[in-house]
Amino acid sequence: MDKLDNTYLWEKLAQKFTDQVSLLTDAHNLLTVDAKEACITAVLNFLKQDEELQFIHLTDITAVHFPLQKKAFEVVYHIHSLVNNIRIRVKVQLDGENPEIPTATTVWKGANWMERETYDFYGIQFLGHPDLRRILNVDDMEVFPMRKEYPLEDPNRVDKKDLYFGR
């Protein structure tokens, strides 16, 4: 079998999902596609189940916050085909007010902790997740620390300068 390449991979996706997916970039030879929130589970399922592609390994799920955009959140899936040694990055843009997305735990069990981490730091709700609790921060925390909505530290502070620590 020939090695899969990004062109073929994109063609295959575009053929199946037509206007539901769009090509963003293939910088550094990593194909990056944008998918609509409604079809993300179908896209992930297709990538994993397809006889030819076999993207069986979910590397990571995380998110990005763009505070100035209307669609302020972007959930990012890094998926790896161990069979064909090729990677793909799938991004989904979400509403900033109430970011919700179907869980990927129905496709990969390993998505469980990744989604908990993403919820912990960005406050994104993964609908249908079996146990959406914080995983790294204290349970009673009321904020989502990785959101870009907190003022930066006062640059004029001196109380944490090295000289006060004998360094």
Binding site: N137, V138, E153, F165, G166
Partner: protein, 183 residues
């Protein structure tokens, strides 16, 4: 003759064949020269403490021969390193499990004030959850500084009353931290 240095006797009345002093002083002398450490080490300060326990600096000289690693029989809690907010309940539990009399040394910038980690996830000083007797500055402090902290604590222990645990000030302090007092 050997160079063994003995602890100085407390002030008292001396005569032929007897020596009288207050019980407070005698107990203080005993307590301060057998402080058993419970090292609670989470980061680099813990490594400095290992050096302090090693042969060069030899913390055992001060009667701290047995590092406890358990609240049992330990009376000097040394907190060394960054305490994350998630670690705070654990540290508090360890402190609560120690029996009176007990003292706490916060070793290094992190345990004393959060240090450089001015962050949402880090406790900004352990005195937010448990009372602290001695703060050792430095990032990390050298073993000499840790020894100095232990010596400062010995001064405190020598000079406090035998029954500190029942004084109203001490009870009020513990209640302020929400720690139960008994007796």
């Amino acid at each position: 003759m050997s160079d063994i240095k003995l602890a100085e006797a407390p002030p008292g009345v001396e005569g032929a064949g007897f020596f009288a002093t207050s019980l407070d002083k005698a107990i203080g002398l005993a307590r301060s020269n057998s402080l058993w450490p419970l090292p609670f080490a989470t980061s680099c300060c813990g490594i400095e403490f290992m050096a302090t326990m090693g042969s060069t600096y030899d913390l055992a000289r001060f009667g701290a021969e047995r590092p406890s690693f358990s609240p049992r029989q330990a009376d000097m809690l040394l907190v060394m390193g960054t305490i994350a907010k998630k670690m705070a309940p654990v540290l508090k539990q360890v402190y609560i499990q120690m029996a009176e009399p007990r003292w706490v040394i916060a070793v290094g910038a992190c345990a004393s004030s959060g240090g450089i980690f001015d962050t949402y996830s880090v406790l900004q000083g352990i005195d937010e959850i448990i009372p602290v007797d001695v703060y050792v500055p430095g990032c990390p402090p050298r073993p000499e500084a840790i020894l100095d902290g232990v010596l400062r604590l010995q001064d405190i222990v020598k000079n406090e009353s035998l029954n500190r645990r029942n004084t109203p000030e001490y009870r009020a302090l513990l209640e302020k931290y929400g720690i139960e007092t008994y007796g």
